[in-house]
Symmetry: C3
Subunit: 298 residues, 3 copies
């Protein structure tokens, strides 16, 4: 039985993750509308706006027949001082079945889940976790290689601030892949290394050894701040470009959670690269979100 | 035959109110989705944002199969100078069946209804009326006591600025309950007293005499303004807390329209009190809104 | 076969336009909900908010059974620097079938369509085009006169800045109507004249000669700017009022795309005029949008 909520991937066993990916593949093969969530209100509570993630969730919810309620909590009581617990109690009383929540505060979805008797899906909390993104990445890897176990995956860039990286580390480890984190010391501490997770500084040395490269979006704020000497210094060492694509072994793929910064963490060559899987990732996003909602709500 | 609009409860006879509550109970017993409003566009026009009320209406509309259109009229032509009448004419021409409207201006829904040939539901106008809140309060009372007639209900707090109080006074009187308004003179004028409605100042004296206490949200702006000497002075006299809960007679219930200010009009003890009916009120909100839409649109 | 997108009416032949109007009439006769777009996500991407147009599209989409996703792109990545192409790629990857887009930049929907493999509907781009508005105007003319060919239509006001005028000129010419543009030189250059399109300055002289008058909304910003000496000077020459209605021939109709400025381009007399077709235009808007979505997506 899957957990009640999807807060991060570390709550899920390998069997549970594989079952979710299997269901996502089933939705991929047959994306026709269902009535699985007919009569179930699903509330999208995005305190941080996100066009792409919100659209993907909304499509998944509609596809399952849910009652889709999208709230812009901008100046609602939820922001004005009502406690998270009170918001949870109120939504539950209305019969809301699931809440999809994004918040700039790490841990917010956990606080909501403590008081909400329905299901909470973390759509991104601060720098902490983004589990549906990691699920769609795992789905993309499995589509490509037939398995996740035994793969070697590099995650490149601003690991320190990346909720995408953090959730992927959990998922990759649970499914038996090896993770190599690559970035400068200011964006990636040595202490991130652990069982199954290595820290490396030299991207050129890592590229020939991996099955997949996951690039991360680097926030321009970081580049202009103290964490990186300059955009030029960063791109010299960590940008994926035509020259570095040549270093990849045959069959290796490139991934990015989007939105990407052309000219920063990647060049246009990467997006034109035949083994760039960005489009597959986005497509899989709808299917893993359908699978998560089905698993939690049924 | 019910009126064409729900602007406030004083337009409804006791029979009409009871019929609405009966239908709401039917939806409570069987909340499965219906197609009663299939093909009927319902527009949610919240000039004042309200997460909870808007979510409750949206769930009710989805549950009846309506075409749910939620508009954020922030900077639309409706705000930029188009007259209310022009907005009404335009929405009607599109075939909109019902408009759910919240506005900070008392009377706005009445102005809209004058030009709109469909149905208008007042979701809160200024300090004037909030009839669906009062309906869900009446439903909660009837669920508890089997009837509303003959009950004695205290409404406590900032009566002067409360659209919830005003609509409840109408509904309670029409259904034969006695209302006791309790608050300081700055928030409750003696002139509010009328047939079936008493004004009292001493909450401790009132509590042992009533079947139900309806607390009101007190806006922090009021407490910080000239109307109340201080939060401490207000809470000393009108906050419901553990000591005052002891004064209630057996079987008496506590209600609050939400969102509540913990530590102001109530303490956490009230929310933990077994006869606090806040959750029932919120749940009933969806069902009375379904009943209202059904009654108006069919 | 209709074009893949609706960017402006000049991409459509007379046969294609008539087919769209025929389908819109069919929806007018039987506006009951359909499942034509079941399982098709339609994204409403209004960079410029527009309550009326967005509501009309949303109703049309719901009526056809689409998965309606309305995005407020206010501070999303689409605005923050992601390229139009990247947005298009991402929406396509999610399986979005059609994007309805409004943007203050002329040409934006064309840029989107270049990268989006689904269907793009232009809901208004800068001062360039507003093709669904022109379609509903053509439908209104045909309802009134049984045909568009051979009609003489005056478009009055701020032609220079009007996307409504521009799209109507294309549609009227394609269907064989004669267009007379009327306005002051600052808002209407002589160069707008072409085959089938005349430029005139004297509204009083034009009114007795036409089958229909399309008024345009004049932005108050223009009146307060350098383009018109004063509101009084403009209304003296170009406002439609009780006196000028008398100049119309029997059977002539008046149209306006809304929202209108009472007291500027028209007086209340015009809205009370029995042959003012504003309400029919708005109603037809839902039907032409259904027809467009059906034609593009099926």
């Amino acid at each position: 039985m899957a957990p009640r909520n999807l807060l991060d991937l570390d709550d899920f066993s390998a069997e549970e993750l594989m079952a979710l990916l299997d269901r996502a593949e089933a939705f991929h093969r047959d994306p026709s509308p269902r009535r699985l969530l007919a009569g179930v209100p699903v509330v999208n509570l995005f305190f941080e706006p996100s066009t792409r993630t919100q659209t993907s969730f909304a499509i998944a919810e509609h596809r399952l027949g849910a009652e889709v309620v999208s709230i812009d909590p901008g100046d609602s009581s939820m922001v004005k001082g009502e406690s998270i617990a009170d918001t949870a109690i109120t939504l539950a009383a209305m019969g809301v079945g699931a809440v999809i929540v994004r918040h700039r505060e790490s841990g917010f979805p956990y606080a909501l889940a403590r008081s909400f008797p329905g299901h909470v899906v973390n759509a991104g909390d601060g720098t902490h976790a983004h589990p549906t993104q990691a699920l769609l990445d795992l789905m993309t890897l499995r589509q490509e290689f037939g398995r996740v176990a035994g793969l070697r995956v590099a995650i490149v860039g601003d690991i320190a601030h990346s909720r995408v990286a953090r959730s992927n580390i959990h998922g990759l480890r649970t499914l038996g892949a090896e993770t190599i984190l690559v970035g400068p010391p200011t964006l990636l501490a040595d202490a991130m290394a652990e069982e199954g997770v290595r820290v490396e500084r030299d991207l050129d040395a890592v590229l020939p050894t991996v099955n997949a490269v996951m690039l991360l979006r680097i926030q321009r704020e970081r580049l202009e701040g103290a964490l990186v000497p300059s955009v030029a210094a960063y791109t010299a060492e960590y940008q994926l470009n035509a020259r570095r694509l040549e270093l990849l072994r045959d069959g290796a793929i490139v991934m990015h959670p989007g939105p990407y910064n052309r000219g920063v963490e990647l060049t246009d060559d990467v997006l034109d690269f035949p083994s760039c899987r960005y489009v597959n990732q986005v497509a899989n996003g709808v299917f893993v979100r359908m699978a998560v909602l089905e698993a939690l709500c049924s």
